[in-house]
Amino acid sequence: MEDIGGSSSNDNNNNGGIIKEQDRLLPIANVGRLMKRILPQNAKISKEAKETMQECVSEFISFVTSEASEKCRKERRKTVNGDDICWALATLGFDNYAEPMRRYLHRYREVEVDHNKVNLQEKGNSPEEKDDELFKLSNRGVGL
């Protein structure tokens, strides 16, 4: 929650008004990696396909986020949280995506609580374990 606010203020300071390519689009390597997961082993992806998907997914994120942001504006709230994103998906007609996303959000919060406990005991290992468990959750999400 607070991290998002902090990052937004930093982002305001860094950007001098120009939106760079790396700020407007997701990294092309990550997009290519996600596309590869659904394809057979020997399949290849052209750079044009990756760039097209880069534009599509970045616009989709902005589309859903603007819907969630509009809801927050009407309710006089400044922070867009996970529930707002799930609500926006349902409002825009992406019902098949909203339900798995709610389940993912629920499990994410469970993992968050567990890691707060682990973090109190051991401070060094928490980030790596968090990344691993989140990765497992994302894999399960794909299965859903």
Partner: protein
């Protein structure tokens, strides 16, 4: 490490869009009520009349700001109840062959209106306005750079390559890429660097 950094960037991108969206509604309030009244009529006209009204838009501007501001104005000045508003477009909706109701969406490129999901109509118009605003302020750089970091690019140029242009000491099979142009090579180098970072992080983990 690399994945964490990317996640941070993604969150920043979301915040940017949220802030740009917050600025848009204030612009809607400045529109002229007369224009808004006319556009309300155009809004609920039949598709044929919509095409006629659409012809009035000058083709020079792909996304004229006053036009879209006037479209948004009636919803701000006259807040309809959700159900009552959803009832009105249902009267004018035409069922497609796939039994999917769509709202006619004004487009400059195509003469015929494009039908979209009614739930997404406002969102699409809002995003169009945000993109038009970003372009008018010359904030978006359209041309893509072949690489993001000069130092990484130079390092990739210095690496030895075998026949076919592949790096000699690469371990993964993910280095396969279709295009072999110079820009693609640079992009491939960036991918290789990210893969290299992944190897480093995995080594640290194990």
């Amino acid at each position: 490490m690399t994945s964490a950094h990317d996640l941070t960037d993604n969150e920043d991108d979301g915040q940017q869009q949220s802030e740009s969206q917050i600025q848009s509604p204030s612009a809607n309030g400045i529109s002229d009520p007369d224009i808004s009244t006319q556009n309300v009529n155009v809004q609920y006209a039949t598709p044929g009349q919509l095409g006629t009204g659409h012809a009035m838009v000058p083709p020079v501007y792909p996304y004229p700001d006053p036009y879209y501001r006037s479209i948004f104005a009636p919803y701000d000045t006259q807040p309809y109840p959700p159900q009552a508003y959803s009832g009105q477009p249902m009267v004018h909706l035409q069922l497609m062959g796939i039994q999917q109701a769509g709202v006619p969406l004004p487009t400059d490129a195509v003469e015929e209106p494009v039908f979209v999901n009614a739930k997404q109509y406002h969102g699409i118009l809002r995003r169009r306005q945000s993109r038009a605003k970003a372009e008018s302020e010359n904030k978006v750089i359209r041309n893509r750079k072949p690489y993001l970091h000069e130092s990484r690019h130079k390092h990739a140029l210095r690496r030895p390559r075998g026949c076919g242009g592949r790096f000699l000491n690469s371990k993964k099979d993910e280095n396969q890429h279709d295009d072999v142009t110079s820009a693609d090579k640079s992009q491939s180098n960036i991918n290789l660097n990210s893969n290299k970072n992944d190897q480093t992080s995995s080594d640290r983990t194990s």
